[in-house]
């Protein structure tokens, strides 16, 4: 099986978010980057498990700049065989998807994995876009994926429940919680990652479809109003008469 996992770099989950340049740029000073959790914990690990049971290769692809290579090596340490970096600033989802689709087009991947969403831009966009551009089925937010010969069985959430679907290879899937258990890279993996191939290819065009004009932070909370533990009825009164939410 030839598997492709789309990996993106995101700020560590504890990052305090601030902006520079008159609130038009994310302030990267002191920010630690990690592999997007959905890409690492679920998509990549499930791809590795499939490779381990059925044979094949796991390639990871990132649209990003040279600054992303530390995070790419981390994904290699977990067990991917090779990495491809498409050299561009990933500032628009359709731009990113078009780059990955152009790269994957003639490589006959059996499954293309993405995460559910990036935890910085949270769009759930790139996977569906790649599928459309390659004319492939897209199984969105799968929490389980099994492959039997040329057919895959997947579980996904539906409003108020779940469903099981089957689809023939090849297809695109976005991975949600449940698809696999996170793995911690070991020393051997980290050593091996240093010499695994990381190919840099250039972007095929530079068309952007959206642009971020400015950022803002949510309004500060006014402070917490405390209610005595002996009198929760007062809370109900405040929620009804003051906050008007019940």
């Amino acid at each position: 099986m030839k598997l492709l996992v789309c990996i993106s770099k995101v700020p560590d989950t504890t990052t305090k978010i601030t902006f520079t340049d008159n609130n038009t740029k994310f302030n990267e000073t002191g920010v630690q980057y990690i592999v997007n959790p959905y890409d690492e914990w679920y998509a990549l690990v499930r791809a590795l498990e499939l490779k381990e049971t059925m044979g094949g290769t796991v390639t990871i692809v990132t649209v990003g700049t040279a600054a992303d290579e530390a995070v790419i090596r981390k994904a290699l340490a977990i067990g991917a065989d090779e990495a491809v970096r498409i050299d561009a600033n990933p500032d628009d989802a359709l731009f990113v998807a078009r780059q990955i689709a152009a790269y994957a087009k003639d490589k006959a991947f059996d499954i293309i994995f993405t995460g559910k969403e990036t935890i910085d831009y949270n769009g759930s966009q790139v996977g569906g876009m790649i599928a459309e551009l390659l004319d492939l089925p897209f199984i969105s937010l799968a929490s389980k994926l099994d492959v039997n010969g040329s057919e895959a069985t997947l579980e996904t959430d539906i409003p108020g429940g779940m469903q099981v679907v089957t689809v023939n290879l090849p297809f695109v899937v976005s991975a949600a919680k449940g698809m696999a258990e996170a793995r911690i890279p070991n020393m051997r993996g980290i050593m091996a990652a240093r010499t695994k191939p990381l190919t840099v290819v250039s972007a095929f065009d530079d068309k952007r479809f959206t642009a971020i004009k400015s950022y803002s932070l949510p309004p500060e909370k006014k402070g917490c109003k405390y209610i005595s533990a002996d009198n929760p009825a007062e809370l109900i009164d405040l929620l009804h008469n003051e906050a008007k939410v019940i």
Binding site: T13, A97, N122, Q125, V126, G128, S214, K221, I236, V245
Partner: protein, 317 residues
């Protein structure tokens, strides 16, 4: 020209998110002096209600595999062509997340996912980024525009009116996705759409103590949720896990019981309009993000709170 809205009816009827999307499209259509066309795929019990929320016309495709985002995207693209729509609206729900990106890619249209404002005159739209820790104002630069509205962002309003329902059966190709099984839990309120969420964390000590949490939720008509460790240890199902790496919610009221308020948890809930925190530790970081707080032992506070809700409901009736 018209604003096209894809409305999910995969549970056999249109649910709140669909009406929200129609209301939202109506506001965009009014600003452009045009009309709203809704597109409904699959069987749907309450299709005629769409007019009351602002749809002028409803295209209905009864026979289609609604589990396949590929055929649904083709359907949306065909409807957009027919209606000459340059703005296409989805709800940022399970179906919207699958279909909207495909439509954007097909039409080479800029897409803003999880929109939380009405587009301004230069089509700049606000959306949450960094898991709710910030907002970005995003401009769509293309002539065709795809938007998905974040659930529970605006109050749903019936504005009156009625819509013509027109069968719509374009060629969309054969589906490659086969549904083997579907399970639905009746009567459960879905977490992303819930107006009230009652959530609990490791402070509850074990799954056997969730009774009061469920009872409080039931009394309030709320959905239940939990912190990540609680889902990871298996006390609660994964689909209840909220936070940066779980579901992001934006209810009117979020009640957090025995949750410390780690930054990753807050990231998924800080768009809630009102936050109530119940924690025995007065130093718990969650209080900094709370509107109302009770410092106390959940096992003592919850029964009293449930009582108070029952009394409130009885007096309201």
């Amino acid at each position: 020209m018209s604003v096209l809205v894809f409305v999910d009816s995969s549970s056999g009827k249109i649910i709140k998110g669909g009406f929200e999307a129609i209301n939202y499209a109506k506001k965009i259509a009014d600003a452009q002096s045009t009309t709203v066309t809704a597109l409904v795929a699959g069987s749907c019990a309450n299709i005629s209600e769409l007019g009351e929320y602002g749809a002028n016309k409803v295209l209905h495709t009864a026979n289609i595999n609604i589990a396949d985002s590929q055929v649904l995207a083709k359907l949306v693209v065909k409807a957009a062509e027919q209606e000459n729509a340059s703005v296409i609206v989805f709800s940022h729900d399970l179906v919207g997340r699958a279909v909207a990106p495909r439509v954007a890619a097909r039409l080479e249209a800029g897409y803003v996912a999880g929109a939380s404002s009405i587009p301004d005159t230069s089509f700049v739209i606000r959306r949450a980024v960094f898991s709710g820790k910030a907002f970005a104002d995003v401009e769509i630069k293309t002539e065709k525009k795809v938007l998905s509205l974040y659930p529970n962002t605006f109050q749903v309003e019936k504005i009156g009116g009625s819509a013509d329902i027109v069968p719509f059966t374009p060629e969309v190709g054969t589906s490659r996705v086969i549904v083997k099984e579907q399970k639905r839990k009746e009567g459960e309120i879905s977490l992303p759409e819930a107006e009230i969420v009652v959530s609990a964390g490791r402070g509850m000590k074990g799954p056997e103590h969730w009774g009061p949490i469920e009872e409080l939720a039931k009394e309030l008509g709320a959905a239940t949720a939990c912190s990540r460790p609680v889902a990871d240890i298996g006390w609660r199902p994964h689909h209840e896990h909220v936070g940066q790496t779980g579901i992001a919610v934006a209810p009117n009221l979020y009640i957090a019981v025995g949750i410390s308020g780690a930054i990753q948890h807050l990231a998924g809930v800080n768009r809630s309009k009102v936050i109530v925190v119940i924690n025995k530790d007065p130093e718990a970081p969650f209080f900094k993000a709370a509107d109302y707080g009770i410092v106390g032992d959940a096992f003592e506070v919850l029964p009293k709170l449930i009582d108070a809700v029952k009394k409130f409901k009885a007096s309201a009736n």
